[in-house]
Every structure is written in structure tokens, then in C-alpha cells.
Amino acid sequence: MAAAPISVTLDQVFIVLRDWLTHFLPAALQPFAAVVLEVVAIVCVFPGLFALTTVFERKGLGRMQNRLGPNRVGPFGFFQPIADGIKSLTKEDIVPLNADAVVHFLAPLVLVVAVFMGFAVLPMGRNMVLVDMDAGLLFFFAMGASTELSIFMAGWSSRNKYSILGAMRAIAQMISYEVPLLLSSVTVVMIAGSLSLTKIVEAQNQYTGIFPHWYVFTPWGLASFVMFAIAATAETNRTPFDLPEGESELVAGYFTEYSGFKFALFFLGEYLGMFSISGLGATLFWGGWSAPLSILSWVPSWIWFFSKDMAAIFVFIWLRGTLPRLRQDQLMNFAWKFVLPFTLLNLVVTALWRFMEGGWLRWVVCTAILAGAYVLMGRTGMHRKHFGPRSYRYAE
């Protein structure tokens, strides 16, 4: 311990802390207590981040829209989430008379539990993963798929036309974008040769000179990451894919009929979904907890993971402040006619990359194929749309 440099100690500070806390217990209980501590850490850290993110999002959106955002509770309004939490805890929990009480009650619980499960396999730092599963990526997607059912449960049990419309939209969207989400992640598995997320991070934690071997810096990796980011935004129902809860059309979509703490749970589930899918994106393409330059390796690994996660959250907020909402047919066309063919092509390109050993030739070939296909598909797609000067039917 004493011999270890300070950077290693800082890097492993949570592991050391956990071991120090558990060593008071009898040896038989220690593994169990360690797992409990890790679970408690996940259950505390991410909702804490959620509280911070809500206020950052409102401030950030306010900045983008030339207003101040929340500025009344505490310094610069930073205690706003505490006030919001107290408010949602004390609000009356209204269940509609015709609602299916049991399913209505279970839906937010299923959502939050399934979302929390996804964090179990994310490596949040060196040696910092709750369960290092052989099939970690598969587990993550299995848990992500289970959230769809909870959204359906919420929408259907409310007995409200906005809710059911929101749930139908959500499910259609999530099913459509789950295919490109999985297919774009498969490319990483093809190159890393493992479904284990820790192994995927280790494969990227190498450096040429000072530059890392992150997958996003390869042609196929960049294409996969862009497709992954699009699909992830759709999976988390964020703008521009927020049709399931488009407040100008559907009140609040599938959670229209939820109030008080259940509403807060849906909110929490949505943000936790953002954190976990961003964490997965960082792990798959941006090297997880590895440092962006080899000379920065002394910075604790968990700082890198959470910085990448928060950077992705900032992009989510930025997109929300920038882009308008898609229409349902645009959403479906985009998924099935652009994203899906491109991810399929990218699978082939990745295989090519895998079997063209080394050299600069594979860079040229893979980049050429992807860029060519992108331009071609974009051109044909745009050509079919017949874009011209905008004409207004009513607001002339």
C-alpha cells in the first residue's frame, strides 16, 4: 500500500475503501458485503448525477434559449432538484378511476429496476465493475429490452388515449432503433472478440505514441458510433426522437396519468437510461475508463469514465436545445431506410477491416466504402424528397 504511487491509490480509492469497510466483518460475509456496498454505490451515485443533470439541463437549455433557467433555490438555483424531490415526494399520488391499478403501480418499478440492472456490467473504472460477465453486452441489451414492456404497461394501464398513443409510439420507435443499436455494437464485438465490456475496454486501452487505440478513431468505429448515437437517442426517447412524450401533442405520452413520486420514477428511469446508454457508448467506442492521451494516464480511471458519460449527457442536452421533433413517418423511414442499411454495410466493412491485416490500405478501402455509401444513400434519399423552397399553406 505504502509503496504504491499516489496516482494508483487515487485510481483504486473506491476499491480500497470498499475493502477497508468490509474487513471489519467476518471473512465469510466479506464478498457479500462487498457486493452490497457496490450496489449501494451505484444506487446512490447515479440518482445523484440525475439530480445534478436536471438542473444543468434546465440551466443549459435556458442559456441556449436566451433565458436564465432556474435561479431561485440556493446559489444559482443549484438546490432546485432538492425542492423538486421534496415536491414529488409530498404530492398526491393520483391513480385514475378506470386505471388498471396493479399494472399502473408496477410499470414505474419495472422500468427503474430494469434500468438500474444495466449499470451492473458497465466498467466505471479500472477494476470497478459490479459483475464482470462473459456476456456483459448481451446482458445490457437484455435489460434495455425489458424497459419496453414497462413503457407499454404504463401506457396501457392508464386507460388514456394520450398514454396509449405515447406507448405505441415509444414501442414502435424502440423496436425500430434497437436493431441498429445492436448491429452497431456488434462491430465492436467483432474486432474486440469478446462480449465482456471489461475486455472491450482493455482492448482499447493501448497507445501508439501518446494516442489511444479507441474504436471511434477507425473508419468503421466512427460510422458505428454515429449510428449507435442516433439509435441511443431514439432508445432514450430524447429530442429529436421524443415523439412518445411530445408534450405539444400527447401531454406527456405514456406517463400522462402519473403524478407524484411515480412521475419522478419515470423521470429518473429516463435519465438513468441516458446515463447507462452513454456509459455503454463510451465503453464501446471511446475507450471506457482509459485516458485520452497516454501522458494523462495518471488521472484516475473513474474520472475519465464519468467525464465521458457527462460529455455525452451534454450532447443530449445540446441536441434537445437545437433540433426540432421528427414526424412519425420520418422517424420510421430514417430507421429502416438509412440507419439499418448503413449499419449492415458497416458490418461488412468491419469484417473487411478485421481480415485486411494492418497497413494503410485498409484505412483507405474502409473509409472509401463508408464515405461513398454515405454520400450515395444521402443523395438518393434527398433526391426522392424533392426538397425545394419552403411553402406555407396557412401562414402566408
Binding site: 448481451l138 435489460m143 429490452a145 396509449i164 405505441m168
Partner: protein, 166 residues
């Protein structure tokens, strides 16, 4: 055969029973999802990670969703007024018992036919992958072809419907 096994088995059977006994069709579909999740837990308790997660991903994530979609789109969501048992329940019972007897007999016979395995085989996901694209590549391709045909068929059916209503 531990407490865990009996717990999961009870959950799975309860989900299956609820799926046939409940009156509301959507409740039945959700109960089926519970049974699927229970099956996945059973696979996991047998250390079959890949099958367990695939079970959740495919059955809870896709099949259950497909079922509820089908129920909603065909307006079958209203609860039935009469009993949940059909008139020919006796015949159904006989057929179910027959199928169960054949399956049970086959399983019990296999216990004698196969050598007793003492150590649980350690099958990694990689082994499954290698087997799929190695020894079992032909069945895999056939399944892929079948699924592609089914997808094209579904698209054609949907297209036809659209033209007729126009």
C-alpha cells in the same frame, strides 16, 4: 435443487398459470412475460448465461411486445365476459396430458441413455459462437433464409393490404 430453484420454478409456473387463467388478455400477455423471465432465471441458475440473456432479449423484449401489439391492434384488449375455459376443455386436457407424458417419458429415458455428467460443462459464449459458425453453420443459414423469407412475406402482405384500402 435448492431454494433458489424452487422459488424460480414457482414464479415460472405461476406466470404460466396466470397466462391461461386471467380474464384480461393484456394481463395474460404480461403474465407470459413473467413466465419468460422465470425461464431466463432458470437458465441463469444453470450457468447458461448466453441462453438466459437471449431468452430475455428475444422473448421478454420482442415476443412479449409482439403479443401485446397484436392484442391491441386486433381490439382483443377487452376482458372476456364468460369463463376462460373453452367448451372443449376436456379434449385439450387429454392432448396436453399426452404431450406432457411423451416429453416426460423422453426426458426420463434420456437419464439412462446418456452417461452421467458429474461436472457442469463450462460453455463460454465464445464456444457457442464458434459452434454456430462452425459445426452448425448450415442450420444457421437455413434459419436465416427462413427468417428472410418470412420478413419479405410480411412486407408483401402489408403492401397488399395498403393497395386494397386505397
Amino acid at each position: 435443487m435448492s431454494v433458489v430453484f424452487y422459488g424460480i420454478a414457482a414464479l415460472t409456473v405461476a406466470g404460466g398459470l396466470a397466462a391461461v387463467l386471467l380474464k384480461n388478455t393484456v394481463h395474460c400477455a404480461l403474465a407470459v412475460a413473467v413466465a419468460f423471465a422465470g425461464l431466463a432465471l432458470l437458465f441463469l441458475s444453470l450457468d447458461a448465461q448466453f441462453v438466459g440473456f437471449a431468452q430475455i432479449l428475444v422473448y421478454v423484449g420482442a415476443v412479449a411486445i409482439l403479443i401485446v401489439f397484436a392484442i391491441l391492434l386486433t381490439r382483443g384488449a377487452e376482458p372476456v365476459t364468460g369463463g376462460v375455459f373453452s367448451k372443449s376443455w376436456l379434449v385439450g386436457l387429454v392432448i396436453a396430458a399426452g404431450v406432457f407424458a411423451v416429453l416426460g417419458w423422453a426426458v426420463l429415458q434420456s437419464a439412462h441413455a446418456l452417461p452421467l455428467v458429474t461436472a457442469a460443462p463450462a460453455v463460454t459464449v465464445q464456444d457457442i459462437g464458434v459452434a454456430l459458425v462452425g459445426r452448425y453453420v448450415l442450420p444457421l443459414e437455413i434459419v436465416a433464409l427462413l427468417l428472410t423469407a418470412a420478413t419479405i412475406g410480411a412486407v408483401i402482405v402489408a403492401l397488399h393490404e395498403k393497395e386494397r384500402t386505397r
